[in-house]
Symmetry: C2
Subunit: 330 residues, 2 copies
C-alpha cells in the first residue's frame, strides 16, 4: 500500500515530513510512501538507506500551495503543486490515500474537484477524533461547510459512522446530534429536521441530541454538527487548552518555592502535557470523497505528522469510502 | 438600591441563596436585597440580625419553576413562582434588577414577556464574561436564539458593548464577529451580512472576524455569534475544563510517589483550581430587555452565587438598559 504525502506544505514542510515519513515506514511494515515535492530537496534530505528504496518513492512537483493562497487560485493556478500532485496520485490509483498539512480550503477544493464526492453525498466534511474521558469521539463537520442542510447533517452521521468503523473497529457506533439542549423540542429548524431524518434511519444507532460538553464525556462515538459549530468547538477547545496550560505554567513559576516544586513534579507535569498534546489528536479526514484525503495540522511537529500518517494508514487499510457507499446504499 | 433574588431556584435553592445574600449585603454597603420565595422557610433560615432588617426584605411567592418545566408552561401556569415574582418586582420598579439560578428557558420567556425588549431590539440575548489571557471577553449570544439574523447579530454587538461599558468601564470596547476564519471572504451569508452591518456602524470599534480560540486570547472585548454557536463554545469549554481537570487528578494520583508530590504541590494546584473555578465566571446577563435580569448557573455554590450577585449589582449601578438605548439611538 502506498500513501502519497504532500511533503512541502504546512509550517515546517520537508523538515517535518521527511523525518515523520522515515519513522512511519520503520514503524509499519505494510506501509510505503510517495513523497511529493521538490525532488532535489527531498533526495538531499532523505537518509542514505531510503534514497533509492521502494519503501519511499519520490514524485516531483514544482509548486507549493501557500497557507494564504486563495483556494480557487491554488486550484486554478498551481496545477503542479505538491498538494495537487498528491491528490492526483489517489485519483490515478497510484496511492491508496494522501496526506497534506497545507491550506485547508485549497485541500478541500482541490480534492473535491479531483476526486468528486461519493454518489449521492452532497458535500464532503472534515472529521476528526477528539479525546474524551472514555476514548475517542469523532466529530464532524469541523469547518468545511458553513451552511448545512438537514440532509447533509444526516449524511455526515453516516460518514462519521464509517470513519469509526474503520478506525475504532466498532460495528454499530452511536451517534449524537449537536444542539443547545437534550430535550426533543430544542433547536432550530435544520437541527429539528436532521433529528427526524437521523431518527428514522434504521442504520443509525442514534442517541438523540447532545451538547458541547458531551464531546469530552465520551458517551457517544460520533457527534454531528454544521461546519461553523464544529469549527468553533474545535478552536474554542484549542484556545482553552492553551489558556489552562498558561495558568498552570504561571502558577508553577510564581516564586522560587513553586519552581522547586515544579522540578519535583516534572515527570507528572510532562505526562499531563503529553496526554493533552495536540500531536496525539492530529489527522482530520476529508470524508465523503471517492478517495482518502487526510489533513494534518499546519504546525504539527514530527510526532504529530506521524500520528496523521497513522490515521491515513488506518483509513486506507479499511477502505472508508467503500464503507460510506454501503451505508448510503442500504 | 434593591436587587430581587429568586431564592428558590437552582439545584440548591435557599441553602445557597441565603448565605450568598447575607455575605453580599455585608460586602457591599450600597446593596439591599429582596429574597423572593417561601416566606416561612426564608425567615427560618435567615440569621437573626437579618430577620427584620431593611437590608434584606422578603417577598413571598408560593410556587417554584422546576429545572425541567417547559418555559411556556412555567410562564402560563406558575404566575406566583419565585422567578416570576422577582421579575415582576423589576417591572414595578421595586427592584433595580433581579437574579435567578432557575430554568434558563423559563427565565428568558418570562422576563421577555414581563419586561419586553428595548424598543427596536428584536430579541434579548445571553451575555457572559469569559476569562482570557488578557482579562475578560464578553460573549453573546450564549443560547437564547438558535436562529439569528444579521440584524440581530448587529444588535448583539451593541448590547455587548453596553455590558462591557457597564462592568469594565471601557469607553470604546472592541468587537469581533465569530467565524471559521479571519479572512474577509469567509463565512455563511448571515455572517457576511452581519459583518457588513457592523463594519458600517461608526459606533462600533470593530476588529472583524475572530475564531474560537480568540475567546481565550483576549485581544477583543466583545465576541458576537448566534445562540447555537455560543452555547456550543460555552459548553465545549465546560466539558474540556472538566476533562483536563480529570487528567491532572489522575496523573497526580497515579501512584504513591505522585500522591506525595501532589501533597507538596497542593497550594499550587489549589491556586490553579481557584483560577479555573466556574464560580469565578458566574452570572450571565439576559440583555436587551427593559430591565436587568441575571442568570446564575443552576449548580452554583455560595461563592458562585455571590459572584452573580456582584455582576447584577454592577449592571444595576450602571443602568445597562439605558446604555443600550443610547447606542441604538445614535
Amino acid at each position: 500500500m502506498y500513501i502519497a504525502i504532500d511533503a512541502m506544505s504546512g509550517d515546517w514542510g520537508l523538515s517535518v515530513a521527511i523525518p515523520a515519513a522515515v519513522t512511519a515506514v520503520k514503524k509499519w511494515d505494510d506501509l510505503n510512501l510517495i513523497l511529493v515535492g521538490d525532488k532535489e530537496q527531498i533526495v538531499s534530505m532523505l537518509p542514505a538507506e531510503y534514497k533509492d528504496s521502494s519503501r519511499i518513492l519520490i514524485q516531483h512537483a514544482s509548486e507549493v500551495v501557500l497557507m494564504d493562497d486563495h483556494p480557487v487560485q491554488a486550484l486554478r493556478q498551481k496545477k503542479d503543486s505538491s498538494m495537487r500532485v498528491a491528490i492526483d496520485l489517489v485519483k490515478k490509483n497510484e496511492a491508496t490515500a494522501c496526506l497534506s498539512s497545507g491550506n485547508t480550503g485549497a485541500l478541500m477544493a482541490t480534492s473535491t474537484l479531483v476526486l468528486r464526492t461519493i454518489k449521492s453525498i452532497e458535500r464532503p466534511a472534515i472529521c476528526a477524533a477528539m479525546p474524551s474521558q472514555k476514548g475517542w469521539v469523532y466529530t464532524l463537520d469541523l469547518g468545511a461547510n458553513v451552511d448545512v442542510s438537514a440532509v447533509q447533517l444526516h449524511q455526515f452521521a453516516l460518514m462519521g459512522i464509517a470513519m469509526v468503523q474503520a478506525i475504532e473497529n466498532i460495528e454499530k457506533p452511536t451517534v449524537g446530534l449537536m444542539n443547545v439542549g437534550s430535550e426533543e423540542s430544542k433547536g432550530n429548524k435544520i437541527t429539528q429536521k436532521a433529528h427526524a431524518l437521523i431518527s428514522n434511519d434504521e442504520n443509525i444507532n442514534y442517541l438523540g441530541f447532545v451538547e458541547g460538553d458531551d464531546i469530552y464525556v465520551g458517551n457517544v462515538d460520533v457527534i454531528v454538527m454544521g461546519g461553523l459549530e464544529g469549527n468553533i468547538a474545535l478552536k474554542t477547545s484549542e484556545g482553552l487548552a492553551k489558556y489552562i496550560s498558561a495558568i498552570i505554567k504561571q502558577e508553577f513559576k510564581a516564586n522560587i518555592l513553586n519552581k522547586i516544586i515544579a522540578l519535583i513534579s516534572y515527570p507528572i507535569l510532562k505526562n499531563i502535557a503529553k496526554k493533552l498534546s495536540p500531536s496525539k489528536y492530529n489527522g482530520a479526514c476529508l470524508i465523503g470523497l471517492n478517495g482518502i484525503v487526510v489533513k494534518s495540522h499546519g504546525n504539527a511537529d514530527v510526532n504529530g505528522f506521524l500520528q496523521a500518517i497513522g490515521v491515513t494508514r488506518q483509513l486506507a487499510q479499511n477502505n472508508t469510502p467503500e464503507k460510506i457507499k454501503n451505508l448510503i446504499r442500504t
